[in-house]
Point group: C2
Chain length 335, copies 2
């Protein structure tokens, strides 16, 4: 434990995670460091509602969850932390814009002011990737470290950065867009964002599926291909079939997974060279398929500092990271 860690803000806060399909909420209790470590990532009174697509029902859903949690909690609730999709200005509590998966709030919308008026509680709003990184930093895998990089490997690649205990928001609240760093300069693969050679286009689940198809096409003569494909065509194959084949020790499938680890290491190594974190946390749906020893070996070819001096750990808070991080941020912003 680093002695320069910030003091814990003790208290009881509601954490809300606004996703494209569901709004999840729960209560986070912070009494002291010992209790926190004992209850690592515990969220009480979990509940959820489908995310409405219109503004007023959306606000009503949020208000309902907050009211329910406030009424259920015995110790008084001090504040509400919101983790949400979209670009967020946490200083003003504004959702600046959403990427289309949050149709209820288009354009700049002051979620903080609106919810504070409706609930009578102090509200803090943060982007979901940043909130998840902060959750892992405060109550998860990165607890006790001051310089933390979290990446999430899923359908896409996201992330959040903590430098000396503070989230890197960026000048336009766009810091930590790690998925869209480039790991190539020759326009080989276009990302779903329209840019070329983004890390996400290789390191995400979608990227791994693409790599699998490319490899199968270019080496279609190999004897292991049939066992890998089973009943799929090359165009149909996805990560599930690949991972099943890895389980069956298919050498071609293992080669493809090795290449995926290389792809993860190229982008991750770049970010590590810029930020020099002491702890890297890997979350997201694809994290379970990461072989951490293999990744460390690949990273050792990329990173300036000795790789043994960096901790590399899987995320531990799962889908609760965002609401936990938002709740901590809300408690810390009370003072």
């Amino acid at each position: 434990m680093n002695p320069t860690l910030p003091a814990l803000m003790t208290g009881e806060a509601i954490g809300i995670d606004i996703g494209g399909t569901k709004i999840n909420g729960g209560t986070i209790r912070v009494s002291d460091q010992a209790a926190l470590q004992a209850n690592l990532g515990t969220v009480y009174d979990l509940q959820n509602l489908a995310t409405p697509t219109k503004t007023e029902p959306f606000l009503e859903a949020l208000t309902t969850i907050i009211a329910n949690l406030k009424n259920t909690s015995k110790p008084p609730i001090q504040c509400v932390g919101i983790s949400t999709a979209g670009m967020v200005d946490p200083n003003r509590g504004m959702i600046l814009g959403s990427t289309g998966n949050l149709p209820a709030v288009i354009g700049p919308f002051n979620l903080k002011a609106t919810l504070e008026e409706r609930t009578g509680l102090k509200v803090h709003v943060e982007n979901d990737a940043n909130a998840a990184a902060y959750g892992e930093y405060r109550a998860g895998a990165a607890q006790g470290y001051r310089n933390v990089l979290m990446i999430t490997l899923g359908t896409g690649v996201g992330g959040g950065v903590v430098v000396e205990g503070k989230l890197v928001q960026g000048a336009h609240f766009s810091g930590g867009e790690v998925g869209h760093i480039a790991i190539g300069h020759d326009k080989k693969r276009q990302c779903t964002c329209g840019r070329w050679d983004c890390w996400e286009a290789y390191a995400s689940g979608t990227g791994l599926a693409l790599t699998t198809r490319e490899m199968l096409k270019s080496q279609a003569h190999r004897p292991e291909v049939k066992a890998l494909l089973k009943d799929d065509t090359i165009e149909e194959i996805g990560t599930h079939a690949l991972i099943a084949a890895v389980g069956e020790k298919n050498p071609f499938a293992i080669e493809i997974m090795d290449l995926w680890h290389e792809h993860i290491a190229v982008g991750l190594g770049s970010i590590m060279n810029v930020l020099d974190p002491e702890m890297v946390v890997i979350g997201g749906g694809m994290a379970q398929f990461v072989d951490f020893e293999k990744l460390k070996k690949a990273l050792s070819q990329r990173v300036m500092v000795p790789i043994e001096s960096v901790h590399l750990e899987p995320a531990v808070l799962g889908n609760h990271a965002g609401m936990i991080g938002a709740a901590f941020l809300a408690l810390e912003h009370l003072n």
Copy 2:
């Protein structure tokens, strides 16, 4: 001017820049913001000595420069800021290791304690790339901004990062190693550091020369090649000949320079996506050849935020950036 900028520490400080061949020193005066802007980057009583290769003569050279500057200055000198090559722990004032261009201090060496004892002045030590970035942030091109990325394009590529007004040191004092992010994943070009596809291997002057030779070899049939080469062979050609040919409007040379701007943009865009700075400063010997409009256009294909929302400026402090930055850091660490 951002109202949340830290208050200036007024005073008089010595700034020293330790390079592989020379130690440069001078005095920096900070009275108030208005005076600072009027004297943008002014260093008084500049002097230098060759950098000794043995420890004791090295320390004597430093002590001599500091004593001279202290005696010359009419207002009392409050502290000394040192900008040095090598890996530095600025909290303890230690040079942790040098890259071979500073043979006088091999291994961990407490420069701060040694110089404080010999000079009776408070000393702050910082890595030269970080000190230069801090200089541009405090008294140069990035004055007034809180989130600043500085890159230096020279024989190599270096940099420094300021987030919310603070230098990003990194957990192992290795933050800001921007030259060694990867802009490729297929091992096409090896960097002088031994790693593959580092940004430095493309964006530095050395990288540009390599790109020039590669382009000339692969397109040796083009009619513009003769005018570009003049009396050089392909193996001999360097950036001087290329830039001369660009001046003569040689279309092939212009294409190569365009590609160099693409190479700069790929790496710079990646770092900008992670940090989201509001100001990017470009320094180093190769900066004079950067066409900022061309670079912005290339960056607009890479960066998540609208490129018009980011300032992109040439460095203004030149070789004095390091000593100015170190002097500011020293003054700020007095309190």
